[in-house]
Symmetry: C2
Subunit: 323 residues, 2 copies
Amino acid sequence: MTIKIGIVGYGNLGKGVETNIKNNPDMELVAVFSRRQLAGTISGVPAVTIDKIEEYKGKIDVMILCGGSATDLDIQGPQISKHFVTVDSFDTHPRIPEYFAKMDAVAQEAGTCSIISVGWDPGLFSLARLLGNCVLPNGKDYTFWGKGVSQGHSDAIRRIPGVKNGKQYTCPKQEVMDSVRAGENPEVKGNEAHTRVCYVVPEEGADLAAIETAIKTMPNYFVGYETYVNFITEEEFNREHTGIPHGGFVFRTGESSEGVKHVYEFALKLDSNPEFTSSVLLAFARGINRMAQTGAKGCFTVFDIPFAWLSPKSGEELRAHLL
Amino acid sequence: MTIKIGIVGYGNLGKGVETNIKNNPDMELVAVFSRRQLAGTISGVPAVTIDKIEEYKGKIDVMILCGGSATDLDIQGPQISKHFVTVDSFDTHPRIPEYFAKMDAVAQEAGTCSIISVGWDPGLFSLARLLGNCVLPNGKDYTFWGKGVSQGHSDAIRRIPGVKNGKQYTCPKQEVMDSVRAGENPEVKGNEAHTRVCYVVPEEGADLAAIETAIKTMPNYFVGYETYVNFITEEEFNREHTGIPHGGFVFRTGESSEGVKHVYEFALKLDSNPEFTSSVLLAFARGINRMAQTGAKGCFTVFDIPFAWLSPKSGEELRAHLL
């Protein structure tokens, strides 16, 4: 029996889930829900307005919430979790405990299961950090992000007068990563471990020096960072910078006994941040569906799901081929 | 309440567990069991002969079986699992299903829990492979080992006439790893992806050319591999080659949709293979202890344990700091 999936929210992430369903033959997409009345869906499944979502009770096993943390999930998460098993990618790290508590209360009361903060960070990177901490309890954590597009920084650049288009990549500093890999345990803050590389298409006749200064002196976004500004043509921008790549590195370095060092590293290099995140959401949709089948209720995170539950394969197959 | 640990077998691995206990304040070492009558233990806990192990029923929560797969675990695993919750590092990959079945039958009948094949490969590498397969279902797996000491190959070198001492390192080929990292999906066999680098201390007056030929033409061990033989002095050997470093790389490369590629990588660089393996055994001792507390019985693997159970921290702490 296939796992019946609903998608809530039809932006990059929702479309990514729709695209990735075909890589998971044990899953079936039933409908896409949106606040707007959509013209249709790429896959041809019904596009339904979200006020009709309760009509799908019993017809959908897992709802994948593809809204943003900042606005949608805070409201939609608890509403939908009241009626469905849900997965979401809530990614505002400092607010996770508060969101967890809210989702847990709803799911406990309704007898459903939810898993929050699924994706690659939070998500796979969190798992890498936790496992690293458990196997090297006497050690140090490092997370590097990039090379990847920061949507917030790109938006900030585009608001500067004279900027026609712009994109910002966050890049880990190679020399800092090399030092971590060598087990040197450097003390570095985030702004010392990353550079910000900007590609800007200026308006005709714009003051390039002024744009560069406006970027480099922008508080919260660029001040304190080694920032590079490259002016390029619109053609180059459209050829080289329309993707949404991302990725990063998690390290745990530690000693098991005096002077005996170990370096643990997890890395991702992603052509498309939303497509990969979608793929992770689907794996954990399978996991939370299994969790719900055990009769559990409440809110969970990636830390609570045994990896065997993420796979469509049997325990026997997994032990024979992947252990 | 601390988790009470027993160690069975007092070689490199057993001593590694003893060393690593101090990094896990929620654990307490109760005794070391051995077939031999040991003179004592490094930590001062009692050294007990294995025939008295049943006297420790109720006094030990988890027995960590530190014998080798080839000889000890096949016998000791089922015997000890009859009376105790156990963890072991059974690492003969093709025989895992058979060993699992045997351990599962015993544990089901006795009402205990066992977790087998814990360490870094099988173990952390297996987890990396499984997660990679789940989040990139349309993809390809690669595992590289090294730079690390192969005990079997080192032994084989030392049996060659004229060899006083020797050590063999398995090394991944950088160009193959680079190709995988670049998403080129090369088709390579293990012998094409690794080199074998040997350090040999010859007896005085030994025929070096004959030793080199004996190594490079040794079937099963070296034939088919790019093999390098370095003759060194005993002093250099003792200075540079007494450690047991190891490590390796797991990759999953795949596409989420046509042409949209992702590279997933997990890597370990270990100063001491047995010390790190011991540390992993302890984390999973915590995990299987939690599993036993749920009332579960039978045999499990790393695929069955949620990462939250590997940590001494509460779910709340983990969500606040590591998610």
